[in-house]
């Protein structure tokens, strides 16, 4: 990874996500700090990135690097964590039942991704799907349901959710600028994740596991009863 990317591009991108992630435009500007639960989600996300090889901490901090380079690498990791908290702050609704459902859904999704140990590309695609879906649900579907004037989408959704009270679903109404800002924020975040230094050599995550490596080596596939041995 180039030193420009490590020293300037990544920290500034992640900090921009941290700045924009809490911005909500209503009658006045509101800057929402991240809820505590987003810290848990961000911690899991960083874990998933490391496990999948999308983030190689040893390329940012190691004994072979100078102190200044290690500090610079630590800043990238910390700023990625802070940006992740704010990205979840954008993605999770602010109140009511949707907040609870989104939080649980994201937690289960991240735990599942962590357990599945996908490779870097799959994790990045997964992040795109997770944040893209959350954006659509929060800023298009829930925003339409919360709009007191309503539009065609609200009428369609109300027809689909016949008999369900919207009291627990409706959210604070923000100006459209909030949605655009959220889109930019999430795009920047996923883009910055793709720029993180990956594990060298394109190793698969399971190759850390000696048992799996042994089994997958052709010579080890032979059994003791194999006549060729």
């Amino acid at each position: 990874m180039s030193r420009t990317r490590e020293a300037f591009v990544l920290p500034l991108l992640f900090l921009t996500v941290a700045l924009l992630g809490g911005v909500r435009v209503a009658d006045r500007l509101v800057l929402l700090p991240p809820p505590l639960f987003t810290l848990v989600l961000a911690f899991l996300l960083v874990g998933v990135l490391v496990r999948s090889g999308a983030l190689a901490p040893e390329r940012l901090m190691s004994a072979s690097r100078s102190t200044l380079a290690n500090v610079s690498g630590a800043v990238v990791i910390v700023s990625a964590f802070v940006a992740a908290t704010q990205a979840f702050n954008v993605a999770i609704p602010e109140s009511g039942l949707p907040r609870l459902l989104f939080s649980v859904f994201l937690l289960v999704l991240l735990l599942n991704t962590f357990a599945a140990s996908p490779d870097r590309v799959r994790v990045l695609r997964s992040m795109l799907v997770i944040f893209g879906s959350a954006f659509v649900l929060k800023f298009i579907v829930l925003a339409a349901l919360s709009d007191p004037e309503g539009g065609w989408l609200k009428r369609v959704l109300l027809a689909m959710l016949e008999g369900l009270t919207l009291g627990t679903l409706s959210q604070d109404l923000y100006r459209p600028a909030t949605g655009y800002l959220a889109f930019v924020t999430l795009t920047l975040f996923v883009g910055a994740l793709a720029l993180l230094p990956p594990r060298r050599g394109g190793l698969q995550p399971w190759q850390d596991d000696p048992i799996r490596v042994e089994l997958d080596t052709p010579t080890n596939l032979r059994t003791p009863t194999d006549p060729r041995t």
Binding site: R3, A7, F8, L31, S66, L68
Partner: protein
């Protein structure tokens, strides 16, 4: 550029940006003007509109407090100048003061303004050298506003009607 120079520059830039972001989240600016004002104030480049401030002062001395606040708001749209915010707080005090009772709502807004003034002042200390004012520091003004909102037995003292506005 040498590697150590580039990395030091990157760290300094990142630290400054992070401090700015934390500062914004702490200050909670409510308008774009306040946000840009906080940004310029953080680098010491914030200036008020002197002409609007002079207009505000003229209205304030003529007891036209609503007009004075409009002019002060025009002078300091980002609420970053401690002296302007002090005068806004003082205008709420004078407008809300009454011989029999004080206007709680105006006093409450005065307290908000004086808190903004203290937050914007270096070291939180404000002393305004204006012979027209009897309360020349933010501490005195805040204490007066707080006392005005307090309910106590002394409020029933009929001699209270002879007190004077400061």
């Amino acid at each position: 550029m040498r590697e150590s120079t580039a990395r030091s520059l990157g760290l300094a830039l990142t630290a400054a940006y992070a401090i700015f972001i934390v500062g914004l989240y702490v200050r909670q600016p409510q308008t774009v003007a306040e946000m840009t004002g906080a940004l310029t104030a953080s680098v010491g480049a914030y200036r008020i509109d002197d002409r609007a401030f002079a207009d505000g002062l003229r209205f304030f001395r003529g007891d036209q407090f609503d007009a004075a606040r409009l002019a002060f708001d025009r002078a300091d749209p980002a609420h970053q100048d401690s002296r302007t915010q002090f005068y806004i707080a003082y205008s709420y005090y004078r407008q809300g003061w009454g011989r029999v009772y004080n206007d709680d709502a105006l006093f409450a807004r005065g307290l908000e303004a004086v808190d903004r003034a203290v937050a914007a002042a270096p070291g939180g200390r404000i002393v305004v050298d204006d012979p027209d004012l009897q309360l020349r520091s933010a501490d005195e003004l805040k204490a007066e506003l707080q006392a005005g909102r307090r309910r106590e037995l002394a409020d029933l003292n009929p001699l209270k009607v002879f007190r004077r506005r400061k």
